[in-house]
Amino acid sequence: MPARTARKSTSKSKARPASARPTQLAALSSRELIDRLAEVARIGALFIEGEDCENLLVPEARQWTDPDDINFDAKVAVGVKKTLLRIERIERFPYHAIIWRRRPDDPDRGEIMLAGSMSSSYSLGKKVNPPLLPELRRVFETGRPAVRRGRNEDWESVTQFRYGHVWLMAHDSLLRAGRRLISHFSPIRDSRDKVVAALELTCVGTDS
């Protein structure tokens, strides 16, 4: 059961198996999901300030390269985090919102900066900033959104299942059944209209 629906089940007074509960997700084709994510991205970008994305980390931490060395500016980051959580509530099917940047020391690598309710499936764990996905490169270099559809074999193996990506656990059997992850990447601009970050909205597709 997609994680967001699971979370919704904790706020309902009537407990019934999640598998019996209808979800709008099943009624949408992947094409429709992509269109909806694009609309969410359009709305969401209205509420994310590019400078806030640049200032998520305290100044001295922005260049740090060791993945254990992270120091957020909590005042900025709390606001952005809440915005990501609200973006995840625009539509009623489950998806997650994540902010990326290009590594300042290595622009051919991306770095997850902050996530809403779950991190990106393209995270390789805290130790590694992944190579810049072609879709992310397109966002940063052209300012145009891009969609990526991935397969389960792109991700960590099942043995990492337990404490790697939580939402891969939640979606694992859907993915192994051939469903694809959909990620919609869109630009976040600063006040000078420069693309300084990318917003990823990601969900499990409804067809193979």
């Binding site: 059961m1 407990a15 992270i70 709390v78 985090k81 809440k82 939640a170």
Partner: protein
């Protein structure tokens, strides 16, 4: 022509190479002429049988039978024995510690060693000589672990019985002698091993669970999960299961459903959550275990930055309203249920490095991150502090790995109940545990365990050292790191693996590691020392006496201050190589002498 099988019997310290029959633990006792055990009431005593050489694994099997143990006026039923076939796992290389030269490999390094223990009932009560699927190259020897539980109401005295083994047309018959002393292991585990894990690290061991997105509502999941708690319980350990992820995501049934918002937020129903967890708190989940239905001493609450209050309301009045409303109900519910024997731990596990929240809520490295705890203090006091919730107890728990000495000197010390520290916390202050205890605080030491490639003495020294340092408990940050389904090797050389999934053997239960038995036995010894001399942190003389019994000066047990130490680089059991099995036997003798 096949060589004749030989039967060798050893104490619980030995590991025998399955290929060569070589003894991997110098100083272990080989029982010639009969097995000799000793123990107190409510304790376990163990021995091992090794058969071999055989010419081909799987061709033969052994029938093992044990009689009851008869004393002068009483007996211990044969049903108190647990027979566990030894499954061999590759040990990998010895652990190299940062800044040190690679150690010279000991005899257990780089070979298959017994670790996973499989109930003999899997094999219809017969011990295959070479367990199916174990695939140890060149295996010629097979071990069997024998656990004996001495029931709490056993009369002190001498008992005797026999163990008979038939295999390959040969018969072996050994007497078993047991000496039971008057000491009774208490229900309170005292210094214990908190087997830390993260939800849902269990389901990956069972395909039927892994593939079921609704698994947490199934009887199978509950049965499997409960077995992990039960196995930990019988080893005098605590299965310490954090019910939410770094993102704050909570799996179904790991928190009660909520409804409403603001000051009206409330638990919609306790039914599912009580069914899932209530048995741990009233002890009923442990019925049928050897130690019996004793409530679990500690439990992680599902409380996080996003539960019960929504993080969307952080720093707004509604956040406090939601926290106080729901946690107040929780305290009232626990009181109504009579769950007063378990301490419920609030632990904020979020860390910046996972990019989900902007603070390190534990393992704080920048002291300004403690602002989170100061905000929670205002919510805690009047809602979950000890005075408010008595007789139910909630503890404010924090991983103060990097900053314990700062936290103890700051306002944090006014409300933190549990300090989870790194293994080098005592490098700067050997009296840290005593000081925390005097403040009424719990001192838990966290790190990784000893490597399988090192001697079992390393695994035994590790908890003992942490107790000598004054700990109230210790933990590994992960105790179920599983490798491949073939269970031929383990990540991290087994340092983070003490329980295995039984699915591979058709079992819906957890299986112990041999090293968990080693830890259990040390905890039994420490239990005796605490019973005789007081809790370690309260009684430095007790710890000094234990150090003397081990033949190692007290000051040499403590880590040296290391300015280059990163805090996250633990050095478990540093110094174990100075120990011998004679040291551990002397310590056990001392503990028995003090409690006889």
């Amino acid at each position: 022509m096949s060589a004749k099988l030989k039967l060798r019997a050893f104490d619980s310290w030995q590991r025998v190479c399955p290929a060569t029959g070589q003894l991997l633990e110098p100083g272990s006792i080989q029982f010639d002429g009969g097995v000799r055990l000793r123990g107190g009431r409510g304790e376990f005593a163990s021995f091992q049988i090794v058969l071999g050489p055989f010419d081909r694994p799987g061709r033969l099997s052994a029938e093992v039978s044990l009689t009851a143990l008869r004393g002068r006026k009483a007996s211990i039923a044969a049903g108190q024995y647990d027979l566990l076939a030894e499954w061999y796992v590759h040990s990998g290389e010895p652990m190299k510690r940062r800044g040190e030269k690679a150690p010279k490999p000991g005899p257990a390094a780089g070979r298959f060693v017994p670790d996973l223990l499989v109930p003999l009932r899997v094999y219809d009560g017969r011990l295959p000589l070479g367990l199916p699927g174990n695939q140890v190259p060149g295996q010629r020897y097979q071990g069997l672990w024998v656990d004996l539980f001495i029931p709490a109401d056993t009369a002190a005295g001498s008992y005797s019985g026999r163990v008979k083994v038939e295999a390959g047309g040969q018969s072996f018959d050994l007497p078993v002698e047991l000496e039971v002393d008057r000491y009774r292991a208490g229900d309170d585990v005292g210094f214990t091993f908190m087997m830390n894990n993260y939800c849902d690290s269990i389901s990956s061991g069972w395909p039927a669970l892994r593939d079921n997105l609704d698994r947490h509502r199934t009887a199978l999941y509950r049965r499997v999960e409960r077995s992990f708690w039960r196995v930990a319980h019988d080893h005098r350990c605590v299965f310490y299961y954090l019910p939410y992820t770094h993102s704050g995501y909570i799996y179904p049934t790991f928190a009660p459903p909520l409804t409403g918002g603001g000051p009206d937020k409330r638990v919609a129903s306790w039914t599912e959550w009580d069914r899932h967890f209530g048995g741990y708190f009233d002890g009923s989940a442990f019925k049928g275990t050897r130690r019996g239905p004793i409530p679990v001493p500690r439990f992680f609450l599902p409380m996080s930055l996003d539960w019960p209050a929504s993080f969307l309301k952080w720093d707004r009045p509604g956040y406090a309203d939601e926290f106080k409303a729901v946690m107040g109900q929780m305290a009232a519910h626990f009181k109504a249920k009579g769950w007063t024997k378990t301490t419920f731990d609030m632990f904020l596990n979020h860390k910046q490095r996972f990019k989900l929240y902007p603070w390190d809520c534990e393992e704080v490295r920048f002291l300004e991150d403690n602002e989170v705890h100061y905000k929670f203090r205002k919510l805690w006091e009047g809602t979950l502090d000890h005075k408010t919730t008595r007789p139910v107890r909630f503890d404010y728990t924090d991983g103060t790995t990097w900053v314990v000495h700062d936290d103890m000197r700051s306002a944090m010390s006014e409300f933190l109940d549990v300090y989870i520290c790194s293994s080098t916390a005592t490098a700067l202050d050997q009296k840290l545990g005593t000081k925390l205890r005097k403040q009424g605080r719990h001192f838990c030491l966290c790190g990784g365990g000893a490597s399988m490639a090192d001697s079992l003495r390393a695994t035994a020294f590790w908890p003992l050292q942490l107790w000598v340092w004054g700990g109230d408990s210790f933990m590994v940050w992960l105790s179920m790191e599983w490798g491949d389904e073939a269970i031929s090797s383990l990540p991290s050389n087994g340092r983070l693996t003490f329980l295995y999934p039984g699915h591979r053997f058709g079992l819906d239960e957890a299986l112990p590691s041999l090293r968990l038995k080693t830890v259990r036995d040390v905890l039994q010894t420490i239990g005796r020392l605490e019973a005789a001399l007081g809790h370690g942190a309260d009684n430095e003389p007790a710890r000094r006496q234990a150090a003397r019994a081990m033949g190692m000066p007290y000051a040499t047990w403590f880590p040296k201050p290391d300015p280059t130490f990163s805090g996250s680089e633990e050095k478990p059991a540093a110094g174990w190589a100075r120990t011998t099995l004679e040291n551990f036997r002397a310590l056990a003798d001392k503990a028995i002498e003090l409690t006889r």
